[in-house]
Symmetry: C2
Amino acid sequence: MYKDLVSEFKHIYREHGKTTIAARAEAEQAADRISQHGYKNIFFAGSGGSITTIMAFAEIIKRLSDIPAYWEEAAELMVSNYKQLNQDSLVVIMAKTGTMIETVQLSAYCKEHHIPCIGFVMIDDTPVANQVAYKVMLDVESSPIRYLTLYYFVFRLLYNHGDFPDYESFCASLEQLPEALCHVLDAYDETAQGFVERYHEEPFQLWIYSGLNQGEALKYAADIAEELFRQKTQIMNAAEFFHGCLEIADDDTNIILLKSEGPTRVLDERVERFLRKYASKKLVVIDTAQFELPGVDDAYRGYFSPVILNVCIEELITNYMIERTGKSAATRRYYGIVDY
Amino acid sequence: MYKDLVSEFKHIYREHGKTTIAARAEAEQAADRISQHGYKNIFFAGSGGSITTIMAFAEIIKRLSDIPAYWEEAAELMVSNYKQLNQDSLVVIMAKTGTMIETVQLSAYCKEHHIPCIGFVMIDDTPVANQVAYKVMLDVESSPIRYLTLYYFVFRLLYNHGDFPDYESFCASLEQLPEALCHVLDAYDETAQGFVERYHEEPFQLWIYSGLNQGEALKYAADIAEELFRQKTQIMNAAEFFHGCLEIADDDTNIILLKSEGPTRVLDERVERFLRKYASKKLVVIDTAQFELPGVDDAYRGYFSPVILNVCIEELITNYMIERTGKSAATRRYYGIVDY
């Protein structure tokens, strides 16, 4: 019934994966220049699809390094006047069009205040691309492949800072990721279609995450389920879930639990035990550990949960939802339609 | 129709306010000892009502100081193995009963790993109270009054660090807060009852916040609306709202916008303009700027948004909701009822 997404995405992951891996030096050289220049803290900033992609890297840095790292809404960062945001900081932004108002303003703000800013951009010669101190090109077409460039950059920064000596070994796993993601496509395709068939008309979805998976939870819940399909959602941290939110969990509530593979997996497992017992009827567990990732070292799997979820959710579920519901970016009622 | 909460709370704010202000030296001495000992970063940690009360202070520190400050779910902090969390850190926790599993474990974790930990506790001689390196007693009965002790502690830390020279002037305003909160009770009482009358059966509420108000938004949405009244909710950052969530906003959706008074107010105002135009029918705006706070310097009002909201929401709305719906902590279906 559904169109064949898997073949299309496989082709893209393989081709664009090659190009992105071939261009790794661009991300590494930016990291090297920044490390040489020095910085005291890092602010990952953005909104919508960009902040939800880069926020996991703030968490990775907190785990591996003593460099203070935050993620921030771009518009909030500009008005908050943080004393910690200054010429010794590094601001990391990601821009799709390079014309979104918040990102344009933030890159201008950084330039004006002499705050070093690196922009991961998909289109060159845009307001954002022209205003940032450092610029790295990202793949235009593929969300999972864009992650690769960010992994190169962040882990190279950590390597330079003495926090991650195994950088080359990590990169060997990273190079296998495009092909590994093709396995994820095969393994999850039918499940994604089943999810859409069953839940495309749910009025409310509760997405539960921990650790690095917050971004992908928020990305789908707010930027896709609400924006495209007008399904109300909530995203909830797995540890916080037990302090209030659990009371809305029951067999009438569609709950999606994103099981992580890193140190926070135990928190997800506790939620799963509860939900299997008390709210299992419309429970969906997306466990990245279920996927074989050939060539990817087990030691690094935990870092890749967001990109695996991105394949399952943004690539497969979202596109099947668009096909099933007839709703899409073209049927929004406010964004790009009315003034505000 | 509703019982008289205002007289009862006024009495408590005045009496317990006096006691708490009289005990300010306890919080200050703890801050002074910690400053003398030194620390490189601060982790505010907890879950439910405690993390949602203290998270605003991480934001305040980011604005006023270069001390790295984070807020974390207690259970997540313990498993995440942050390199940044070590003997040079300060962990700040708040405990109501002092027996909640996450807080007990976190205070034990800190003790075992020699991480300095300060516990703001309501009951002495509990597992938490006995395990923390520093201990400060909080008012047992009144949530808004507990905030006072936290303000003394955090602003004293900032003063000691050279980040907030106006500490004494700030304290003069802080001392006026209990009486000012009595004005808030008077000013908001009727509105709170009207809110409950109109929205006590809403199946879904969207709470929008910025800056320091995140904690009070999450506290009510998850810990009260969901936990006690089984109303589904979402909380959404005002800047992020425009990147997806806006598409669910309409006249059928109950939306509560918390307008802040600090630098992020402009973000709330942008949301308000949008909602007044496209989703005004069930829109509720709680604007802390509407309240007179006699004796409180305008320069400090912005810091007090969370405690003002606490009076409006946790004190008034919550208790009227309990009265109106007959639901309460006693009618929960999982927490304290079943095993998980």
